[in-house]
């Protein structure tokens, strides 16, 4: 760090890997001219930037005019993640999608899944109270957890249970009676019957409250009693210390480290209450904390993060006319994460479990293929930027320059030794094909490394 207004570029790269999808050095350098706190503010204030326009994407993918397919929503999502100037919004939507995991496998109706994702994006960075209230009215979620079969006199406790267990407090903080009470409170919260898909395709549904199916009665829930309905349950749930810790742990686990840290989570939980459940405030505290700044390369990247980072670096799919965005969904799926179709309500098993032999081969092959081809515009940009750093490069200088260019990556000593050993004695000078080859080879080695699986 040189001056007070400049930020260590390694730290900028770290912030952008975590709060965004990572950037190459040629895009990080201008950001490093700004104060770190201002960078954080710019990420948090999503309203400062427009969302990417999607009309042209839809125009050049007219096969999806009918929105028949949740993969279309997935394709749009990848397009957004690659092109958005509000990356935190998409990151947070991804985070909540894994927490409030809702799957097209059961929901089926692609319009409901689309609206579900829009909800996560619109509300995911706002107030947790609002988010949980919206979630409880979300048609996809209602159908996913059978809430439409939760009737007065014949309850289905699925949503009541998961709300407490998976979406807020966590096991051990409530009783079975609380689950029952929550389920009773949510009776009558259901969806409208949609027009069947035959013969003319899908129709949207919507939340509806049916008073005649609601259990109007005194209920005792988490130590309070009253004639509670679903909103009251949400109101009570968000006030619980366990909920504060749940939200804090969710943010910590997603943005900081796979392994929890009690002290940091307690601090975030305090911000939760102090701010009145504002997620933006919690994230402001998180991103400005020492534990965040020091938490480098300790998280395994999810397939979506790996794919979007790779494509961000290689520069594909900026143009909505471009073909093949569906293959990004394929790639992520092959690595074990098909967005909008998590395996269960518990979401994907993340962390180390992202890595198994089949998935790892897909990860490595994908990143190496996309970063090793200088025909992609972003790869070209990176090669050119590397070339501007020095008149000539030794192997070690070239490796360091490439690691820097890919987003200030770090390799363990062993990996460095192996790569340098392979490179041997070189003296690479920019501006010719052999230099380009040497750079893309370095990109490929880094992309195939263990370290590249993390962030």
């Amino acid at each position: 760090m040189t001056t007070s207004t400049r930020t260590d570029i390694d730290l900028v790269a770290h912030l952008m890997r975590r709060a965004a999808f990572g950037l190459p050095a040629w895009q990080l350098e201008p950001l490093a001219e700004l104060r770190y706190e201002d960078l954080v503010e710019d990420l948090l204030h999503v309203e400062r930037h427009e969302r990417p326009e999607e009309d042209l994407l839809a125009r050049f993918h007219l096969e999806h005019a009918n929105e028949e397919d949740y993969w279309w929503t997935n394709k749009k999502w990848f397009y957004r993640m690659i092109n958005t100037r509000r990356p935190l919004e998409e990151k947070v939507a991804l985070m909540w999608h894994n927490r409030f995991a809702t799957a097209a496998s059961k929901v089926t109706n692609p319009l409901m899944m689309r609206n579900h994702l829009e909800m996560l994006r619109d509300k995911g960075l706002g107030n947790f109270h609002v988010l949980l209230a919206e979630l409880s009215r979300d048609p996809a979620m209602i159908y996913w957890l059978d809430q439409q079969t939760n009737h007065h006199g014949a309850i289905n406790e699925n949503y009541g249970r998961e709300l407490l267990e998976l979406f807020s407090m966590g096991r051990g903080n409530y009783t079975e009676d609380d689950v029952q009470a929550a389920a009773h409170a949510f009776t009558g919260w259901t969806i409208k019957q949609t027009i069947p898909r035959y013969p003319n395709g899908w129709y949207e549904s919507g939340y509806v409250f049916r008073p005649d199916d609601h259990a109007y009665a005194e209920k005792s829930f988490l130590g309070e009693s009253g004639n509670f309905n679903g909103s009251d349950v949400v109101d009570i749930v968000v006030q619980q210390p366990a909920t504060a810790r749940y939200v804090a742990a969710t943010l910590y686990g997603y943005f900081v480290a796979d392994d929890p840290d009690d002290e940091a989570i307690d601090a975030l939980a305090r911000v939760y209450f102090d701010s009145g459940y504002e997620l933006t405030e919690m994230l402001r505290a998180l991103f400005n904390s020492h534990y965040f700044k020091n938490a480098r390369f300790n998280r395994v990247r999810s397939p979506v993060e790996l794919v979007v980072n790779t494509i961000t670096l290689n520069g594909q799919h900026r143009d909505p006319y471009e073909f093949g965005i569906r293959y990004l969904v394929n790639a992520s799926q092959a690595m074990g994460q098909e967005p909008l179709n998590p395996p269960t309500v518990e979401g994907w098993h993340s962390g180390r479990e992202w890595i198994d032999s089949s998935f790892l081969i897909e990860r490595v092959n994908f990143a190496v293929e996309r970063l090793g081809d200088d025909g992609h515009p972003g790869v070209r940009n990176m090669i050119d930027h590397v070339g501007e750093m020095r008149p000539s490069f030794t192997a070690e200088q070239l490796l360091d320059a490439c690691l820097y260019e890919l987003g200030c990556w770090k390799l363990e000593d062993k990996s460095r030794r192996v790569i340098l050993d392979d490179a041997g004695e070189i003296n690479a000078t920019p501006g010719n094909e052999s230099f380009d080859k040497a750079v893309t080879r370095m990109f490929e080695y880094v992309a195939s490394s263990r370290e590249f699986q993390m962030a």
Binding site: A65, W71, N200, Y321, R326
Partner: protein, 365 residues
Amino acid sequence: MVTQIFPSKASEAAYPDLLRMGHVFVTSIGQRAFVDGLYGALDLAFGNDGWYYVLNKVDARAGLFERVRFAKCNIEGKFEPNVYLSVNGEYEQCDQEKFPGPVCCDSDRNGTLFFTDEHANKVVLTDVDGAVQDFWGQPGDEPGQLNAPAGIEWQPDDTLWVVSTRSSRVQHFTRSGEYLRGFGSVGNQPGQLNYPWGVSVDPFDHSVLVADWRNDRVQRFTPDGELLHVFDTLGPDKTPLDRPSDVTVDAHGDVYVCDRGNDRIVQFNHRGLFIETLIGDAPMNELGANRLMSNPDMLRWRDYIPDLDREKRFWRPTTVKVDDQFRVFVVDAARFRLQVYRKTFRELSPDQIDPVDTYTDPKIN
């Protein structure tokens, strides 16, 4: 600005005077199906054999139908087998690699179908059995080149007007691809274009109407590119056009705009005056009913829906065309059907209406 709304008497003469009596629903054709249905429908061409040929976008999802496909149906709602493209009898020659992006189509009197491929940057000519006769097109933004061609309209003099979407140009070719003329530049000023989509030619004055998709308007030009009129408003308190995808002119000079973003069809008279909107009024057809009969649970669910009107409405219509019997065909893309309406009217003789130039101020009686 009377002069803008009322063109000169000279060009007026050809247009018949009309008592417009609205539109009557005729039929809806098709259902959500790849076969005997209009899954992926985008545009429509009238065959010279009484059949309608509905161009379907290559469906990259299913992996089964990754070829250009025309659904073939008629006014009775009957379907013949889909028409797939072939070259010298080889279907493999027309796979997704060769023609990945069909988008618009038209036909001539002799049964040739024309379609544009926005990724191959080609205009393709085929017979009604799908045998490719010719294809042409050079990619690029220069005059005579194609960059994501979309709207295409065949003319009785055997020429074609083709929209080049990504170069914001509208161009006139012979049927074999020889460049005749063209116009257009990118922008949002009057006369400029922004990702234009559909195109149509006025049969009376040969002016060219372009669905200026991303500028939310339709513009009328002379064949040499001089701007004549901008259709962007329907009048006060009415929703303006939103991403119109197509435009057509009928034999009275009435202009129909496929106002895709608003899920409606908008009718103007030839002077650009707003007449009527159609929002879709298609009850379930026989195909659909038969389909439902094999799905007892769905039949039961329908009893719990108070408002079934939604299923009559257009959803993401892409194309509007009018045939020689004043039937208005709407490709109701997201509902997998063609909705057909008949324009009802009386043609007036000159003595039944005052000449235009006698009309100066509103009168009351």
